[in-house]
Amino acid sequence: MKRLAHSLYAQVLIAVLAGAILGQLDPSLGTAMRPLGEGFIKLVKMLIAPIVFTTVVTGIAKMGDLRKVGRVGLKAIVYFEVLTTLALAIGLAVGKVVRPGAGMNVNAATLDKSAIASYTTAGHSMSTADFLLNIIPKDVVDAFARGDILQVLFFSVLCGVALAALRDDGVRLLHLIDEFSHVLFRIIAIIMRVAPLGAFGAMAFTVGKYGIATLLSLGKLMAAFYATSALFVLIVLGGVLRWTGLGMFRFLRYIREEIFIVLGTSSSESALPLLMSKMERLGCSKPVVGLVVPMGYSFNLDGTSIYLTLATLFIAQATNTPVSFGQELEILGVLLLTSKGAAAVTGGGFITLAATLSAVGNIPVAGLTLLLGVDRFMSEARAITNLIGNGVASVVVSKWERELDVERARAVLANVTAVEAEEYAAGRVEPDATVPTLPPAATVGGSSTGIAHRP
C-alpha cells in the first residue's frame, strides 16, 4: 500500500478517476478545475525547448560523427513515413468498412460555420519551401523564446556537431551543457510531483465541460477510433516492437506513468521529457532518443494520422457526400503532406483537417463542426497513440542502428516496479537536503563534479 502511494502512475490513475467522477457529478465545478490541468501542461512545456537542446547536444557530441547523425535522421524519417502512411491507410480502411457516419443525413448548409472559422482560415497552409525555411530559426534566442521545437532541434544538431569538431576545446562547454541537462531533468522530477493534480484538473474539465453524454452522440465514431487506435498499437506497433525483441505489453507497462499523464492531460507533450529519459534508461542510445523523440513529435503522429482519414470519411458519410476510390486516394495523398505540415502550426490536427477538406473539394468543410464537441475525447486516444508510437520509434531506430542493448531492455522491462522506485527515489526532493557548499576556488572546473574530465 505504501509502495502504491509512492508510485506516480497509481497516483495519476486515481487522480484521473477522481477527476472524471467530479466532472460527471458536478459539471460546473469540474469545468472550473481547468486551470489545474493547464498549469501542469505549462509547467512541462516551459522546459521542453531547453531539454531538447541539452539532450540533443550532448547526445550528438557523444556520437561525434556528422555522417552518423545524418544516418539516424534519415532512418527516423523513413520509419516515420512508413508508420504514418500505414496509420492513414488504416484510418481510411476502417472508415470505409465501419461507416461511422452513415445514416446521419446531416445537411451541411445548416451547420454553423462560425465555430470553425479560425481553423479554416489557418488551414491555408504554407508551401513546402516555406516549411523547410521555417526550420531555420530567424534568430537562435527567438527560437527558444517561442519554444519552436523544430527550430530548436535544428540548432541543437548544429551545436552538437560543432562541439564534437572542437574536441578538447569544447570539453568545458559540453560539461556545462551536460550539467544543465541534469538540472532540467531534476526540475521535471519536481514538477512531476504535481502531475496527479494536473491530470485531475484536466480530466474534471473534460468530463465536466463535454460530459459523458457527448460520447454517446457520436458513439460509433468514438468507438471506431478508439478500437482502431488500440488495434494499431497492439498489432502494428506490437509487431514492430516484436522485431526488436521486446514485447508490447511489457513495454506499455513500462511507460504506464507517461500513458496515464497523457490520458489525464490529453497532451502528449506533457510526457515528452519523461519519455526521453525512460527510453534512455531502457537501453536506447542517447543520441537516437535525442533526435527521434523530438522529431517524432512533429513527424510521427500515428494517432493523429488515423484520426485524420477516419474523420474525413466520417464527415463525407454524415453529409451524404459520395467519395470515389480515386478521391480516397487523393485524400490519402493530400494528408500525406498536410499531416506533416501540421507540426509547424498550433491547433495541429483540426487545421490539417480543414486544409485537407478544402483541397479535396467536394466534402463540406462545415462538417468539421460535427467533430468539435468530441475533439477533446478524440485527442485522448490520439495523444496516447502518438506517445506510444514515438516510444516504439526510438526503440526501432536504436535497434536499426545496432545500438539497442536488448539484454538490458529485457531486464528493465521485467522489472518495472524496481525501476520506478529507483526513479522515484532519484527524483525525490528532500526538503531538508543540505545546502551544497561551494568547493574552494582552486578546484572549480576540476574533476569534482563526477564526470570524467580528461585533458
Binding site: T58, A61, K62, M63, G64, D65, L66, R67, A129, D130, L132, L133, I136, P137, K138, D139, V140, V141, D142, A143, A145, F155, L158, C159, V161, A162, L163, A164, A165, L166, R167, D168, D169, G170, V171, R172, L173, L174, H175, L176, D178, V444, G445, I451, A452, H453, R454
Partner: protein, 440 residues
Amino acid sequence: MRRLARSLWVQVLAAAVLGAAVGLFRPALGSALQPLGDGFIRLVRMIIAPIIFTTVVTAIAKVGGRRKLGRVAWKAIVTFEILTTIALLLGVVAGKVLAPGAGMNVDPRHLDARAIAGYTTAGKALTASEFLLGIIPRDVVDAFAKDDVLQVIFFSVLFGVALALLRDGATAVVAFVEDLSALLFRIMAMVMRVAPLGVFGAVAFTTGKFGLGTLVALGELIAAFYLACALFILVVLGVTLRFAGLGLFRFLRYLRQEILITLGTSSSESALPLLMEKLARLGCSRPVVGFATPLGYSFNLTGTAIYLTLASVFIAQATSTPIGVGKGLEIFAILMVTSKTAAAVTGGGFIALAATLTAVGNVPVAGLTLLLGIDRIMSEARALTNLIGNGVAAVAVSRWEGELDLARARAVLSNVAAVEAEELEAGRIDPKAAVPAVLH
C-alpha cells in the same frame, strides 16, 4: 586545380556564374530558387546576435581599462563620420554631374504610391531621442530574440566592461564566453559550407526575377551608382588604407571570399563573422575588430550613404523638381542624421530615404516607386561598399591606435592563398572526429 576547387571563393564564384546563367535562360526556375538564398541568409543571421555578443565581450574584457575602450569607440566614430560624410557628398556630386534622372519627366501623380506605403509610414517614426532610447533593450533576452544589433552591442559593451572591472573575479564567465565564441564560429564554418548553394539561389533569383530588362530601363542610375561606389572604394578607401600602410588591391584580394558572398547574397551581414575573423588574422587589434566592426554595421554604411544622396537627387531630376544648392545642402544635412538611424530599423535604406524626402518637402516621396524594381541590384553594390568600408575602417582605427601589426599584415596580404588553405583546414568538419572524452 584540386586546391582551387576546394577553396570557398572559387566555389562561390562558380555558383554565382551558374546562378546568373539559370536566371537568364530560365527566369521562372531562377525565381523559384529564392528559398536557397533566403535559407542561407537565415542560417547566418540566426547566430549573428550571439556572435556579436561573444566577440564584443571578449574584445572588451581583454582590453582592460575603460579609458582605452572609450578611446577606441571615439576613434571609430570619428572614422565612421568622416567616411560616411565623404560618401554622402560623393553621392550628391555624382547625381549633379551625371544627372541620371534628367529628361525622364515622370509625373509623380501617376505613380502608384501604395507600393511604398510601408516605407513612408515607417519613415516618420524615429526622432533622435527615440533612436537613442531604442538602443537600450527593453529586456536583454528580448534584444537577442529580436536580433536588434545595436541593442545587443549596447548590452555586450556593459557586460564586457563589467567583466573587465571584475578582473580575476569572473574568469569562469570569461572562459565560458570564449568557449561559446569558439562554438559559434565553428557553427559558422559549417554554415559557410553551403555558401555556394545560397549564392547560387540568390543570384538565380535576382537575375530571374528582375532580368536584364530592368538593368537597361534605369541603366543610367545604376551605372552612376556603380561608378560612384567604385570611385569611393578605389580613391577614398584606397587612400585611407594607404595611410595605414597597406595596398587596396591586395586587401581586396584578401577579402575575396567575403566580397563574393556579399555580392551573391546582396547582404553584407552574411559575411560579418567571416570579416571579423579575417581582420583579426590580418593583425588588427582584437578590441577594434570585436567592437568597431559590429558598430560599423550600423554607423559606417558608406555604400548606403552614397545611394541615399544619389537616389534623392535622381528622384528630384526624374520628377523635374528643381533643387538648388540650398536644397541640396538640406538633403545632405538631413541624411547625415537619418542615415545613422536607418540601421535601427529593418528595410533600412528605403525607410531613411522616405524619411528624408518627407523632411525636405518638395521632392515627391512617390518617386521612390521608381527605385523599387532595381533596389535588389543597387543593394549588391551597396552591401559590397559597406563591407569593404568596414574592413578598411577597422584597419584604419587599429593603425590610429598604434596597434596594427604592419609587418604581419603585409606578410598575410602577400600570402592570401596560404591563409585561405589554413582557414579551410581549421573550419573543416572532420566526419570521423574523435568523440570528446568528457562523455565517456
